[in-house]
């Protein structure tokens, strides 16, 4: 199993994130994907004992995460857990995500702030956006998803194979769910705690929120239409090989 940490200008938090993973899940390799940071992210990650994948220029979150998935797939890893580089995700939750991946056999497990009883809180605008996307995604996914924007996810090798070839590039979390669902893959959620980011600045500002909603909605519906056509063209499931 591999932990991947996409990071862009996270020198203030990346060392803590890597150390936290090593402390709470000893022996687990950590791969930091440095999205061409202009600060000391690369050096801090290396000093903390992480393997580092250095992108030659800035690709954005989706491009960085996909690079990590591609490398993990090439190196033969069966499970990959993505942890954000801003320190919001608690490494103590990694074993719980891995256990659910192993026990359920589903392709993706989402670390969710908002599972019933978990008591997760976020800002008013973001909360409204999450509610909106929950409502939109419910009929598409065929099951409820409490935290569709969570970046704390674990995937197995079947999902890795898909994401290595096709992964949303700009705001990947929600679209990735649709990509998986259209391939009849399953996902589950486990409750996790998330802290406010420990350093740096969020890439999603108030100004970008509207663009985010339009972009993600378009991406979702394009994926629905794209895979709907592919599914209609495919032969019956029993004559197909598994992806």
């Amino acid at each position: 199993m591999l932990v991947i940490v996409p990071a862009f200008n996270e020198e203030g938090s990346i060392g803590h994130v890597v150390a936290s993973v090593h402390r709470h899940v000893p022996g687990l390799p950590v791969l930091v994907i440095d999205d061409c940071s202009i600060d000391g992210t690369l050096a801090v990650a290396r000093a903390a004992g992480a393997r580092v994948l250095c992108l030659p220029h800035h690709l954005g979150l989706g491009g960085a995460v996909q690079a990590g998935y591609k490398l993990a797939f090439e190196l033969g890893f069966d499970y990959v857990i993505r942890v954000d580089g801003d320190g919001q995700h608690d490494a103590r939750d990694i074993p719980r995500i891995l256990d659910r991946l192993l026990a359920s056999g589903c392709e993706m497990v989402i670390g969710s702030r908002f599972t019933p009883g978990n008591g997760g809180r976020t800002g008013a605008v973001r909360s409204l956006g999450i509610r909106f996307f929950r409502t939109v995604l419910r009929p598409i996914l065929g099951q409820p998803v409490n935290d569709p924007t969570s970046g704390f996810v674990g995937v197995n090798r079947r999902a890795l194979a898909v994401f290595s070839r096709s992964f949303p590039l700009e705001y990947p979390e929600i679209e990735a769910l649709v990509v998986l669902q259209r391939r009849r893959f399953r996902f589950e959620e486990v409750p996790v705690k998330m802290a406010p980011r420990t350093a740096g600045r969020s890439s999603i500002t108030a100004m970008k929120s509207l663009y985010y909603i339009i972009h993600v909605l378009l991406g979702v519906f394009v994926n629905v239409l794209k895979f709907e056509r592919k599914l209609h063209r495919q032969p019956p499931a029993d004559s197909r090989r598994e992806a």
Binding site: L55, L59, Q66
Partner: protein, 117 residues
């Protein structure tokens, strides 16, 4: 009307010359100049051939010739913008895939170096 057609002719000739010079200096690749050249040539022909422009006006059912010329020019531009959006999207995808591949190969090279060292 004649002034409008003359201005269109002038702009078309300027565009043709600019594109040809840019291609010659390798500022634009030949494959990306074709759309511009075809668009400029079409506007040049239409602005110099009143019967062709009138025929188009009748075919499109538009009320007057200047509007026809304007709409044809706008349509040509829209088609070119769409074509370049498609090209840009392909280039962006290729660029991302290449950047990821470079990073992964560098990772493998560094791993090999560390292994040997």
């Amino acid at each position: 009307m004649d002034r409008l057609l003359n201005v269109t002719t002038g702009l078309s000739v300027i565009l043709l010359i600019m594109v040809l010079v840019s291609v010659r200096r390798a500022h634009i690749r030949v494959e990306y100049s074709v759309t511009w050249l075809l668009g400029a040539a079409a506007m040049l022909v239409l602005s110099r051939s009143r019967p062709a422009l009138d025929l188009l006006r009748v075919l499109t059912g538009l009320p007057d010739t200047p509007l026809t010329l304007f709409l044809i020019g706008a349509a040509v531009l829209l088609i070119m913008f769409f074509r370049f959006s498609v090209i840009l999207s392909h280039l962006r995808d290729d660029n991302i895939a290449l950047a990821q591949r470079v990073a992964i190969l560098e990772y493998h090279i560094e791993s090999l170096r560390n292994h040997e060292g």
